[in-house]
Subunit: 190 residues, 4 copies
Amino acid sequence: VDREIEELCRAVRLIVMDVDGVLTDGSIELTSGGAGLGALPTESKTFNVKDGLAIRWARRVGVETAFLTSRSSGAVERRAEELSVTRLVTGASDKAPALLALCQELGVAPAEVAYLGDDLPDLAPMRLAGLAIAVADAAPEVREVAHWVTDAPGGRGAAREAIEAILRTQGRWQRVVDHHMTEEPDEWRD
Amino acid sequence: VDREIEELCRAVRLIVMDVDGVLTDGSIELTSGGAGLGALPTESKTFNVKDGLAIRWARRVGVETAFLTSRSSGAVERRAEELSVTRLVTGASDKAPALLALCQELGVAPAEVAYLGDDLPDLAPMRLAGLAIAVADAAPEVREVAHWVTDAPGGRGAAREAIEAILRTQGRWQRVVDHHMTEEPDEWRD
Amino acid sequence: VDREIEELCRAVRLIVMDVDGVLTDGSIELTSGGAGLGALPTESKTFNVKDGLAIRWARRVGVETAFLTSRSSGAVERRAEELSVTRLVTGASDKAPALLALCQELGVAPAEVAYLGDDLPDLAPMRLAGLAIAVADAAPEVREVAHWVTDAPGGRGAAREAIEAILRTQGRWQRVVDHHMTEEPDEWRD
Amino acid sequence: VDREIEELCRAVRLIVMDVDGVLTDGSIELTSGGAGLGALPTESKTFNVKDGLAIRWARRVGVETAFLTSRSSGAVERRAEELSVTRLVTGASDKAPALLALCQELGVAPAEVAYLGDDLPDLAPMRLAGLAIAVADAAPEVREVAHWVTDAPGGRGAAREAIEAILRTQGRWQRVVDHHMTEEPDEWRD
């Protein structure tokens, strides 16, 4: 992470993440069959435990988080809940106005937002955000508008890498590490 | 994509895709156990979100799409439906006549078809199609009859790569990108 | 595949495959929760479509096939059934005597068996088989006793590679390819 | 594995493993939908068959094993049970005191413990253990406090590699191999 990116990282108060392709590797698993002929197919998404810990820690040390997705699924709802994400926005068919509404609601300026995206629907919100981050395997057009491209691909550590970089430049990551170095019981449940 | 392939791409009006090994990485996940001893095993397939967006966009900008598979599964039906695929052909034990029937139904000549395949059952329909595309990890015999082999393997971006190349040579991809660059709400739901 | 291996391939009349780590990548997926507190966890295995086609084709052109596993699961039963495997042997806590019993039942000499394995429980049956094949990511002890090690790891084409090599040296693979090159409808359902 | 590590391996009487990211690749799969609108989402974890065999063999040849995780899930319970793990500790929000309690219960000194971890919550218990092992894809802070870093990443053989190294330096691995070389039926069920 170079100087200019560090500057942008320092301003971040809210980290907004697309879900499919960013918090997952883009896989959408559909299952059919099973108990009874009338059973509905189910949909699965695969999240990453290291991403999840970083998302939880971010809020602990004072940076808000949000998931912003055009789809809706119970899996995403459950993940947002177990990670205590500040806001979950689903069914956002157009993500730019959804991002602006989210900023207004949380009292955060778009310039204070880091947005992580991977594909064309993320282009418009990335152009609004103060820090636009593309995952390693994002579409070329998305990598091009991004201020920074992570080394890790979506679902395999991209969110962890981005959050860690932001918290580091803000001097907050060391608090997270120090917290885990101590051997005393405490209230942070990982 | 070289000149000759561009020429073939330009003629494409219908993109026909095999499912297992092309829209998926060839994994077939079977699950047993669960609710009740008499529960039937379920079958899962894992699709890719970037492939899915490209399939939806293709139709939006005027290129028809179809899935052609010898298997049948609720998972494929659901995927075809959520992507608004023009036609879903399942249970096609012999794919060449199935492709010809599909062409006739849609009023498209075989020379105007791009066919994406990965294994021996795709050989016959690939020899009929105007543009035969093999995924990177297709069987050697399939790569040999193909006009073009994608860089991405099945289920990990091969369909996206093929569709994007076709739309690009037809000048339609820029319309997709432009659409996403604007910040105005619109009717394209991704 | 060098000369000596070709010689061993030529004698093969029965291909016996371990399941976990050979027909799968060794992943065992366990699921909990879901419908009702008393719901039993389910177990999933992920098979490969290209392996599956080769297993079916082997029998079509005259080579018997069997799965031999120390575990038991509905997923394996279903997979064996849909691929028309000659025999499925599950719950074989000791695989060497199980292999000998299988040979006797099918009237095949151990010297006519190709055995695909990946871990220590496969050592004893591999020492009995005429052609012992280890998958690329087998345990070192297993690779050492094997006559041949595939290029592909388990669950990602190892079985396909082994079966194709055997059928090729026996002159049977071309029959499979020729069958798929023709455009006439036929009775082989893939 | 160099001399100093061999020395530490020799003292090990108990191998304690974190679950997510160590016995799995860190993937947490959530599923929604399916039978009935009120159905709860399910959670899946993917374990590795080679890790599992090594965990079972360790106890057979006299080394105790334990899983220590801050989460709770039926999938982990089932895995611990089918591998006959000595102890399963779940819901351990603070892992250092949980490790000390486990040692006391089993009559093992912390210096006789090998601990396998991957992320910050493992830092405190790793500092207590006689042999601290990080998986290849552990967080940098974790790799730094570890005595040894495996070549394999979590869920793809890291536990197998660690257990095998420990048993080898203790002269116990050969017993495992010898056991599998014999063709006689026996009581070890893999």
